[in-house]
Structure formats: C-alpha cells, structure tokens
C-alpha cells in the first residue's frame, strides 16, 4: 500500500511556523521530518512518523505555492487562492525576507550579481547555512534591489511599500541595498568584529545625510528634485569634502583647533594625554589628520568602498590601542566637531557638519571590541 496522493486544503490556509522555518532554512522534507522528530513532536502529540511525513509534505507544498506570491508581497494580499489572515500574511512575508546575520555579513557590500551567486556554495560551507537558504536570501536581496533601484524617494519607504515589510526589516533592507549599490568593503579581516547592525546603523546615517535624497527640498514636494535618490552618495558633496583638508594642511588652523579641543576637554578626559599626543603632526596615528584625510579621499570610488576600512584603521584602532573608553571617544568627537565652528578662518562649516555629524555617529557605533 503506497500513498499516491495525499493532500489537505483548508479554507483558511494553515501555516505551521515551525515547518515554515525549516522550509526557509532549506531543509528537505526528510530532513525536516527528522528535525521535527528530534524536537519531540511525536511524543507531544502521539502522532506517528507517517503522519508527520504527510503533514510536512503538505506544508512544503503550500509554501512552494506561496513562494511565487511572496516574490511580490502585494500579490499575496490581493490574491484570492489562499485565504490567510493579515497577521499571518505579515508573518509569511517577514520570515521569508528575514536573513541570517552570518549570511548577510558575507555578501554585504558585494555586487548582487551572478558572480556572487556562484560563491554561495562557499558561503554555505563557511556559515553552515544550507545552500537553498543562501540562495533564497541572496535572491531576496537582489529582488528588492532591482525593484527599488530606479525609484525616487526614501529608500526604506519604497521598500516598505513594495514589499510590505515591518519598519525594522525595511531599514535593514535599505542598508543592504545601499551597501550593495556603493559596494562598501565589509569583508576585510579588520572589519570582522563589526556586526550587520553596526553597518546598518551607519548606512542609515549616511542615507540620511550623504545621499542625493538627503539634500532634497521640503518633503512636501518630493518630485521637485529630479535626482531624489537615496541609493547614491551625493557626488558633489564628496567632491567638496576635499575642502576640509585645510583643517590639517593649515598649521594655524590645526593648532587652534587642537588648543580649543584640549582646553575644553582638559580634566574631563581620562585619556587626555593620549588625545593630546594624537594631535601632533608627526604622530603616526594623528586622529584629526586621519578623519580629514578619509573625507578628502572620498572623491575616488575606490576609497569610498574602503570607507569602513579607513575608519577602523585611522580612528577605531588607534583609540582602541590606547584603551579609550567609549565615553571619552564621545566627548572627544563632540568637542572635535563643535570647536570647528569657532575657527574663524574656516569657511566650510556646513560641509563640515554634514560630514562630521554622520561620521561621529558611525564612529561611535563602530567603536567597540
């Protein structure tokens, strides 16, 4: 006696969260059954292995049918074939587009191309995530990227509108898309200590301040700005950053800046002497020079990609080697950027703020072990 056909169709589509997770994780039906057995479901329910097999098959079939709709979430809402309560629809979408931290760290900042897709085997082997799941996650990134690529307006909003994500997931995807578009280097060994959350945080700040969309007029007339895009960094802004070089090139300015910072921070900083030493021009780990040079280099695409490497090399690592506490870093960065306003000879205050406000946020986030 063999089962030729075995199906269960509910008027409300049954979604088993546990099986959905196994399916998303890329397990085959037999693996999923084995995992469910190991989870003790047979003992809990008194079911037989055959029942479990049939149930798992059924769910997998349902998910397979739903997958086509999940590729365009608004379709899932409007389709008539599967009656699914809104909360469950949201869950389906959210989980389908959820990604593994380990996976996203591998592909973050890489071009979402066929070439990268070929490397998924290696990523799968390295991270222990099934190839199937890697493919789904990669395809998700690529799908979202393709849809919002040419769109105007807020990146996160566009993603949310077209994929119906939660705020959180939409912001994460905005970061992924932003990184993929600008190809920031994140894989270097130096950067391994950083989590996706760190990068996403920075991405959000950069999108808010450094992109074309960021300089857009009042939000009431978003269409007035032809290049109102969140994906690309504001090229003009990056060009202008060269002007900041004067802060380290002009000796007077540098000294004045230094003394202002030192005066303000004297007694407040546990690592005052280290800080002070770092301002000295010959010092190899001149923090100020480092930060300004990073800014000045951003005109070249190659250097834009290395932004995070540079930030870690030029700022995070020196501070860390001197054992700066985070509080001191914050105090220093605040003072460092604020005192520039008191430099009368410096004409690029707005530019400095646009650069430094974002950078300060990023650095503080990046500064951990």
């Amino acid at each position: 006696m063999t089962s030729e056909l075995d199906i269960f169709v509910g008027n409300t589509t049954l979604i088993d969260e546990e099986v959905y997770r196994l399916w998303l994780d890329g397990y085959s039906v037999s693996d999923a059954v084995a995992l469910r057995v190991r989870a003790g479901i047979l003992e809990q329910t008194g079911a037989t292995a055959a029942v479990l097999q049939s149930d798992t098959m059924d769910h997998y079939r349902t998910f397979h049918m739903l997958e086509r709709l999940l590729h365009a979430p608004p379709k899932l809402l409007h389709q008539l074939v599967f009656q699914i309560p809104p909360s469950r629809q949201a869950l389906l979408i959210e989980r389908y587009y959820a990604f593994d931290e380990a996976f996203v760290r591998e592909v973050l900042g890489k071009k979402l191309s066929k070439g990268t897709k070929k490397d998924l085997d290696d990523i799968s082997a390295k991270t222990g995530i099934t190839l199937k799941s890697c493919r789904r996650q990669f395809d998700n990134f690529k799908r979202v990227f393709k849809v919002v690529e040419e769109m105007r307006g807020s990146l996160a909003d566009n993603i949310q509108q077209h994929f119906l994500f939660s705020d959180r997931l939409a912001r994460d995807y905005a970061a992924i898309v932003f990184f993929a578009n600008n190809r920031f280097e994140t894989a270097k060994k130096k950067l391994q200590y950083l989590s996706f959350g760190d990068f996403a945080f920075c991405a959000e700040l950069m999108i808010q301040n450094w992109t074309l969309g960021a300089v857009g007029e009042a939000p009431s007339k978003p269409d007035s700005q032809v290049d109102d895009m969140d994906m690309d960094l504001d090229k003009e802004f990056l060009q202008d950053l060269k002007e900041l070089k004067v802060l380290v090139a002009d000796k007077d300015l540098l000294d004045l800046h230094k003394s202002l910072v030192c005066t303000a921070l004297r007694g407040k900083l546990g690592v005052f002497s280290e800080m002070e030493a770092n301002f000295k021009p010959p010092a190899p780990q001149n923090l100020s020079r480092g930060l300004v040079n990073v800014a000045a280099k951003l005109t070249h695409n190659k250097d834009v990609r290395d932004l995070f490497v540079d930030l870690v090399e030029k700022f995070v690592e020196p501070c860390r080697s001197d054992h700066w506490p985070l509080g001191d870093v914050r105090l220093f960065l605040n003072q460092y950027s604020v005192t520039v306003h008191s430099l009368d000879g410096f004409r690029h205050q707005a530019l400095w703020d646009r650069y430094m406000d974002t950078l300060r946020g990023c650095l503080l986030r990046l500064y951990h072990d």
């Binding site: 006696m1 199906i7 269960f8 409300t12 149930d55 074939v81």
Partner: protein, 1041 residues
C-alpha cells in the same frame, strides 16, 4: 421580454503575460449570455487593464435567466493570429432573481482556465431588472428560493412543509462526442462545464415549477448530483423539500427566543415531577399555582395512584389552554388520520431535511434503505428520458414500502446516491422512517400554526425514541424496554437514524464518530454477469457493515446512531462499503450490554485463554470509552440541582415510585435482566479478524471530538474559530494476491491514518471538534482507492463546556421528566434496522437514450468500455500545447502604489480581500445569519499535460482544490456575502496518467451564500448556546412570555 440583464466589465488584475516580447498583455473581454455576445475594447499592454466598459444589456426571457450562466471570457488580442484565451468566469445569476436575495453581483472573480487554473482576476458588476410577468403558463420559476441547508434556514420560519420534489435531466456528455476527437482538451472541458451549468439551471427551474405547483415558495435541503455515466450520457438530478417559508422580520427578534424554552422550564418548580400532566404547561403561571395548592399528602396520594389516570385527568383540570383537550385520546386518532391523509396525497412522503422545527418529528422508526444495480447502456432513443426517472421511482417506492412496514408514514433525512463503474451503476436511497406531526404539512393560516406550536413546544426529550409500533407484530426481533426517561412508552435497545440529533434529545455524555469499513473482492466481469455478481454481494456487505456498526456502537458503550450514511462504491474488481455515523448515548434508551465473546471450539486450552484475553480487552475498551465520552447515565433522574422542591419530599416520592407503582418496576427490572451482553461468536479466522479490527480503532487524541452530524452532542459553547477543510488521499494497492482481509486492513488503515493526520494538523485548535465529517470513497482505477474527507473543525471553550454540559443535563432531565406522550401512542412498528432484508434483483435494464437538449448530433462514437479508458485514449491524441507558466514581478503597478502610499498604516492591514468563511454546517458558531443570498452550485474541470511540473498528482490536486475554494469565496463575496453554509463537495473525480504526465479532475461543490453578523456585534445578551437551540428559534419566537 421579462428581464434585462446588465453587465459591466470594470477592470482586471494580475493577468498572465501573454506576449513574451513585451512581457505584457493586450486584454479584452467577451461577455456572452445565451446567443448574444458583447466585447470590450482592447486594453493595450497591461497586466492590470482598466476597461471600465459601458453597461452591456441583454434582454432575455426569465426562463433563460434561470437556465443560462453568464459567460465572461478574457482574451489576449493578437493582430496576426487568433486571439488567445486567458480564461473564463461563469456567473450564475440565479441569486439576482429572488426579491430577498442579492440585488447586485459585484466583485473580483478569478479568471479560470481549465488547463492553467486561475490566471488573474476580473472585476465585474451584474444587475437584473425583472419585469412582472403575469403569464400563468410560464415556464420559469423565478422567485423560488433554494437552500442546500437541510433544516429550516435560520432567518425563516416554516409555515408549511410541503414535501418531496425531484427532477432529473439527461444529456450526452460532450467528452464522448465525436467532435471531442478533434477539439482541444480546453474546448472539451469548457463545453462540459457550460453544459452542466446549463443543465443545473434547467433542473433548478423545473424543480421551482413543481414547488410553485405545490404552492410553496422555497426548496430546502436541495441536493443536486451529477452522474457521469460515460458513454451513455450525463445525468443531473436533484431532490429537495418544498416549503412555504416566512421571513422572520428582524434577527434580533428571534434571538432571545433561542434560550427561552429551557429557561422557562427551569423556572418551573416541579419539573422533576414524573407526573406528565405538567408538560402541556406552556407559559405556566396557572400551573404553578395549582401545584402549590396541593397539600403534600394530598398530592402524593393523587400522584401515586397512577400516572395514567393523571394523564386522563389532565384535560379536566383545564390547565393551560383549552387546546390541551386536543391531546386526549380521540384526538390522537384524528391526528393520525390527518397526518396520514396529508402524507398519502403525496407520491413520496419524503423529506430531505435532517433537522426539524420542534414538534415536527413525533417518532423515529429506524433507517430504511434500498439499492438497486442497473446496467447502463447506450442511448438508443433520445426522446425517452424517463428511464432514469423510472429507476429512481422504483427505489423510492421500495423505501416507501419499507417505511410503511415499520409503521411509519414518512421518511426523513432522505438522500440518494449512485456509484458507477463502467456500465454498472448502483443506485442507493436511504432515510429514516418516521411519524410526523401533521401541522406543518397542511395548509392553514399562520395563526393556527402558531397556536399549535405554542401548545406542543414542550414535549420532547425522549418522545422520538419511543417505538411507533405494535409490540406483538415486530418486524425485527429486538429487545424492548420502557423508556428510561418517562418510563411509560417502550423503546428499542438501539436506534439508527440518518437525521441529526434532535435538539431536545436527552443525551448522556458526548458522542463520537463511528465508521464501518468493508471491502469485498469481486471477479472482473462484463455487463450482466457483473451486475449479477454485484447484486449477490450487496446483501452480505450490508449485513457486515451493519454488524460492524453495531459492534462498534457497543464498544463505545452507546446506544444510538445519528447521521448514518452508508456508501457502497463499485470498482472493477472490488466493492467498498463505508458507513459513517455519530454514536451517542440516549438517556431514553437502555444502557447497552457489553460484548461477549464465545468460542466455538472449547477443547483447546490455549484457545480458551486467547478468548478470555480478548474478552478482557474488549471489556476494558468499553470501560475506557465510557470514561472518555463521559457516559455515566444517572441511575435515577429525579435528582435535580437547584430544585425549589425540598429534599425530603423528593426522596419520599422517589421511594414511593419505586415501591408502589409495581408494574413499572417489575418491567424495569425485567429489562435490566434482559440486558444481556451482545454475543460475538468466534468460529473462524474471519470472525477473529473482525474482533481484532474492532480494537484497532484508536480514539481521537485528548481535546478532540468528531462527529458527522451538525453538532456534537454534549458540547454547546462553540467559539467562533472554524476551519473547513478537504483532504484527499489515494492509495495504490499492491496487486499481488489481494485477499479480502488484506484489502480490509488497507482500507481501514487508510481511513484511520487520514483521521490521525487531521487530528495532527488541527492540533493548534484544541479543544476542538470535527463536525460534519464526510467521507467519500471512490475507486478510480483497478488498484486505487480514493478517500475524500470534508469537515469543519470548531473550537470550543473547555471551561464553559463543563458548565453548560451541566446545565444541559439539568435542563434535559427536567425536560424529560415533564414529558408526556399523548401524541406518541400510535401503534407503530419498531425498526432499529432494516438492513439485511433487501432483495437485489439482478436487473438488466437498457438505458434508453435520454436527451433533453437536441442539437447535439447523435454521432458515431467508438465504443469504449469506460470513461477512464476513453480519457486514456484521448490522452494519446492530445497535443502538447505550449504551457507557459509565467511569473511576473510588477514594478510599481498603479494599484500597488495607490494602496501602499501611506506609510504610517501597518503594511498588511489594508488587505482588500474580505474573509469568507466556509462550513458544511448550517450555522456559524457565535454568529447570526441575517440573510441568505442564494445557492452556490459550481462545477469545475481542471486538466494538465504537465503533471510533474505542477508538483505531481498531489501538487495538481492541492492547487485545484485551493482554486475551487477561491472561486466559491469570490462568488460569495461578489454577492455581498461573507460565508457559505451547508457547503458540500459533492464530487471529486480524479484521474491520472503519470506515464503521459497528465491528469484530470472534476469537482462539484454547492452551498448557501449568506451574510452573518457576529453575535457580539449584535449586542445580544444570551449567547450561551448559540447552536444547540437555534433550531427552536423558528418556532420559539412566539413562545417567549
């Protein structure tokens, strides 16, 4: 020209890509009704076309309005070649033809293609302007309402229940016409869908005419079926119960009434009194006074004299209203006469209802059934469609005579079915013989009916169990005892019925689903020899099915079956029998004895040991089941919680009734003695197998209950969560050395595993009950068994359950004790069953050609031995069409943008698809049905030539059933409804040919589209027992004091 049909095509969405080059579609729509066709403009290059057409107007006869479906075809425009069809929508406009139902059909319909399934949706608006037609000779029957529900629909009241209506129409099956050899599978499928739609419309119209003739205005319990007879044709037949229904003005008005009868009874201070004179109280203030006026001693003396004298005294005391006199002796005869004459006027006093207004059902005799084996033959004479009519008339006559033999004048819970394999067809009919109260059957003023209803509202509890028969002339040997409720009338030891449990029945504990499963091998044979072989097997199968049912019933420690449905399926080399029913313990019936096993060969010691071991196991199972289903019948029913009557009084009376009314006591004792165990003789291995199989049925896991009736006895407080589902399984038998035993085991395992899977799948709904579990067995091929199950899982509140069960018992006890039986004393015969007594004349009958529609040429066709074979044959000629499975990712469709502009809204909350509930039950728990919008009756064919690509047979059927659900929901939503009740999947014919990568499936579903409103939204106070008492609502509305 009595009607104008207006159609507007608004828009489409999610259309498939038809032009590979542009990844877009140039869609337009053809709207066809009858022979008139309109077209919309072509909407270029869009997957979301906005046609916004003008109103297309069709001026048509109302006859056509009833018969024809509106046919909407979506096509892709192609300048150089033929336009490609995207898909179709058939809309039955019948619901627009009654005044009270829907006024407009408007909404998104899935565009369906028989090869590709659903391909996008189309938004359509349909309206009908009906002109009054005064022509008395009209052929239409617009305005007659149809209900699939097998009880009086919730917001209606039955004024008169007229009785049985039936009709059938015959046609050639397009799939078997010569033209089918040259047309595409799509064209063939569409021709079939259209024809069946047309035939359904015609059938409904003809039944409507019959109803109008009977002066009714509705058909309740409408059941329409298709017989796919292959070569010999296509039969569409329907049965139903004609009624005159009155719409209840407002839903709120009858709502509180649901609970009033029971409440009222609780207030009565003397309900536990076995003296029957209290029963006729109605609004009972005078009675109350009277009882209190008795001094204790006096009342004892009076009551102890004998209950019978009290009964005769009743009219004299003049309690209640004057009408109480009617219940006296002479009236009974009159009543009976009336009833009989009322029913005898009818050719067939049958009722397809399974639940009845209170007081309608007086006695239940037992199950009556008839089967007959017929040979289908090619249509020879197209002008004689009466052959099938004659077949059914014959069977109905048999049913009628069976009922008569049981002293019953009517059959309720009546249904008909067929099973066809090649040219052999088994026709089956079954129902429950019953004695009915004539008041619903006669013409009369509404007032008269109301009056009667008031006086007769209270009897119940055990009345229907009392044997309606002459003890000395039993048609069947059975143990009789005095009713355990009223102790005055006789009851059988077991009761089998096809109806739902009457709402007022007193049940102990909970019920459960019982199934008898049986397979019998049969030699392959042709024509007459085959029919003879089947006819010879049938009686044995029926007998065994019955024995199994009886054994399983005893094993559960219960004594009655409701909703019994025995299905016999014929295949090429076997017969399958599947009986499902809901077992309960009726308080009125005696406690069932155990099962005793007796061995035939006592010589062997180990054998003896084995037997005793088995006996122990069986006894243990019975004990376990009793515990599981909470079967602990009260030994004496007088003890009532919260009774206002002082304890001592009660006790003394109790004592007295035991010692003084001597006759009764001896009878009762005797009956206890007679209640010997049911003896199972084990004389061969077969019997041993049978006993073993008894023990293999596993009870559902804790928290689960199941039944095949509308509601589960003993559970009253459903919560609103429901989940309707269909599950299909097909197994392939290993063809080697199949024996009956192996076959039985396979079949048994199939059903058991299926149930286990259901319990597992629905475990998140615990505590829950599977209601209306409906199994269908078919044998699509030699070694394949297909089982289809449709049911609804309903959660209930466990804590509340206990509480209400208690009050329910309390209530029923009260009710039982206040019951009396004046109405029920007709000499009627007992029938606890009637199964093994049917002869099956091996009849060879020629099916004459029967076509109601001419115009289809009687072409020469190659004779194919079966439908399936023809499918196979055809499959060879199928060209592999280009199958495009298209997935499109839309970029910023206007719709999507529009809908999701607003960021602040939660992204998933703005779903535009309304929820439509589906249930096989006639009600929605926790909700009130406020309007019936019309009948849903849909037939779909789906075929594939890329079975593997669609996920194999499972993937194919899974998708198809999901699509069928979707189309039903869309039609209901377009009618303005939010639920389908009394939903049933009448047919699911699945054929596959994996070698050719092909499969085909036909599905027929029906139900009633309704609008329901949550009770919480209605702000109704009493929602405790929304379901159990709803049946009373129709009549109960007038009883409120």
């Amino acid at each position: 020209m009595p009607g104008k049909l207006k159609v507007k095509i608004v828009a489409g969405r999610h259309l498939p890509v038809m032009d590979r080059a542009s990844d877009l579609t140039d869609a337009f729509v053809e709207v066809k009704f009858g022979n008139t066709t309109f077209k919309t403009d072509v909407y270029l290059k869009s997957l979301n076309p906005q046609w916004n057409s003008e109103w297309f107007k069709f001026e048509v006869d109302d006859e056509d309005l009833q018969d024809e479906p509106l046919q909407i075809t979506v096509l892709d425009h192609d300048t150089y070649s033929a336009n490609d069809a995207i898909g179709k929508v058939y809309i039955d406009i019948d619901p627009l033809l009654y005044s009270e139902a829907a006024t407009v059909i408007s909404g998104w319909f899935p565009i369906y293609d028989t090869i590709h399934g659903i391909r996008g949706e189309i938004n359509v608006v349909v309206k009908v302007d009906l002109f009054n037609d005064l022509n008395r000779f009209r052929q239409s029957s617009c305005g007659v309402k149809f209900f699939c529900t097998t009880s009086i629909p919730k917001c209606y009241r039955a004024v008169i229940i007229h009785g049985f209506v039936e009709e059938l129409v015959v046609n050639e099956d397009p799939e078997y016409q010569w033209i089918d050899r040259i047309r595409t599978p799509r064209a063939s499928n569409e021709a079939r869908q259209r024809l069946i739609s047309l035939m359904s419309g015609e059938l409904q119209r003809k039944i409507g005419l019959k109803v109008l003739e009977m002066r009714g205005n509705a058909v309740v319990g409408y059941l329409q079926c298709f017989d796919l007879e292959g070569e010999s044709g296509l039969v569409v037949r329907a049965i139903g119960t004609a009624c005159t229904l009155d719409k209840l003005s407002s839903p709120a008005a009858f709502l509180p009434a649901c609970n009033s009868p029971s409440k009222e009874m609780k207030e009565l201070p003397f309900n536990e009194d076995p003296n029957p004179n209290t029963h006729s109280s109605g609004p009972s203030t005078p009675l109350k006074n009277q009882t209190y006026s008795f001094s204790p001693s006096k009342s004892y003396s009076r009551q102890s004299s004998s209950s019978d004298t009290d009964l005769s005294l009743t009219p004299k005391t003049g309690m209640g209203s004057g009408s109480a006199g009617k219940e006296g002796g002479p009236f009974k005869a009159l009543l009976r006469q009336q009833t009989q004459s009322a029913l005898e006027q009818r050719e067939f006093p049958f009722f397809t209802l399974t639940a009845f207004p209170p007081g309608f059902l007086v006695h239940v005799g037992g199950v009556v059934s008839a089967r007959s084996v017929k040979l289908l033959d090619r249509i020879h004479n197209p002008d004689e469609p009466e052959t099938r009519d004659a077949w059914w008339a014959e069977i109905r006559q048999e049913i009628k005579s069976h009922a008569k033999a049981l002293g019953c004048h009517a059959v309720v819970g009546y249904s008909e079915s067929t099973s066809i394999c090649e040219e052999v067809c088994i026709l089956s009919a079954s129902g429950t013989a019953a004695v009915l109260n004539p008041r619903f059957l006669q013409d009369g003023t509404v007032e008269g009916c109301l009056e009667q209803r008031i006086e007769e509202n209270l009897p119940a509890g055990c009345g229907f169990c009392h044997i309606p028969y002459d003890e000395l002339n039993m048609p069947f040997p059975a143990h009789l005892t005095y009713c355990y409720n009223c102790r005055k009338q006789k009851v059988p030891d077991v009761l089998f019925t096809t109806i739902d449990l009457p709402t007022d029945a007193t049940v102990v504990g909970k019920g459960c689903l019982i199934q008898a499963r049986l397979c019998r091998l049969k030699k392959k044979a042709q024509a007459e020899a085959n029919a003879t072989a089947i006819s010879n097997l049938l009686p044995f199968m029926e007998y065994e099915v019955h024995t199994q049912l009886m054994n399983k019933l005893k094993l559960k420690g219960m004594n009655a079956l409701f909703g019994l449905r025995i299905q016999i399926t014929v295949g090429e080399n076997m017969l399958m029998g599947l009986a499902s029913a809901t077992a309960v313990y009726l308080a009125a019936l005696p406690m069932p004895g155990g099962i005793q096993i007796a061995g035939k060969t006592p010589s062997d010691g180990s054998y003896e040991q084995h037997i005793s071991h088995m006996q122990k196991k069986i006894s243990d199972t019975i004990a376990k089941n009793k515990e599981l289903y909470e079967i602990n019948p009260p030994e004496i029913s007088e003890e009532i919680i919260g009774s206002p009557i002082p304890e001592p009084k009660q006790r003394s009376r109790l004592l007295r009734s035991q010692s003084e009314s001597s006759d009764e006591v001896t009878e009762l004792d005797l009956s206890h003695g007679k209640k010997d165990a049911f003896v199972l003789e084990i004389d061969d291995t077969d019997a041993m197998e049978d006993v073993h199989s008894l023990l293999t049925d596993v009870p559902p896991p804790s928290g689960f209950y199941s039944c095949n009736t509308e509601i589960m006895p003993g559970i009253n407080n459903w919560t609103s969560e429901i989940q309707m589902f269909t599950s299909v399984r097909v197994i392939r038998l290993s063809s080697l050395n199949l024996t009956n035993q192996a076959l039985n085991k396979n079949f048994n395992d199939l059903c058991e595993n299926l149930l286990k899977s259901l319990y597992f799948k629905l475990r998140s709904m615990i505590p829950c009950c599977l209601c209306h579990v409906n199994f269908t067995v078919s044998l699509p091929e030699d070694e394949l068994i297909q089982v289809t199950v449709t049911a609804v899982a309903i959660t209930f509140d466990k804590n509340q359950a206990l509480q209400t069960t208690k009050t329910h018992i309390e209530k029923s006890l009260q009710r039982a004790s206040t019951d009396n039986e004046e109405l029920l004393q007709f000499p009627l015969e007992l029938c606890s069953d009637s199964l093994p007594s049917h002869p099956f004349p091996p009849a060879k009958e020629h099916l004459e050609s029967a076509r109601s529609n001419s115009g289809i040429p009687a072409a020469q066709r190659d004779r194919c031995s079966s439908w399936i074979e023809l499918i196979k044959l055809k499959a060879q000629t199928i060209r592999r069409g280009s199958i495009k499975t298209t997935v499109t990712v839309e970029k910023a469709s206007p719709m999507g943008e529009g809908n999701f502009r607003n960021r602040s809204a939660p992204p998933c909350a703005n779903s535009t698809v309304g929820v439509v509930k589906m249930t096989p039950l006639s009600f929605i728990p926790g909700a009130k049905i406020t309007k019936y919008l019309g009948i849903i009756n849909m037939f779909f064919i789906r075929e594939t030539t890329s079975l593997r690509e669609e996920g194999g047979v499972s993937g194919f059927l899974h998708a198809f059933i999901a699509e069928v659900f979707a189309m039903v929901r869309a039609h209901v939503a377009a009618l303005g409804g939010n639920a389908v009740v009394s939903y049933i999947m009448k047919q699911c014919v699945f054929m596959e040919n994996p070698n050719k990568n092909q499969a085909q499936c036909l599905i027929n579903v029906s139900g009633d589209a309704v609008i329901f409103v949550r009770e919480s939204e209605l702000e109704v106070i009493s929602t405790q027992q929304p379901t159990a008492n709803c049946q009373q609502s129709c009549a109960g509305g007038e009883v409120t004091t």
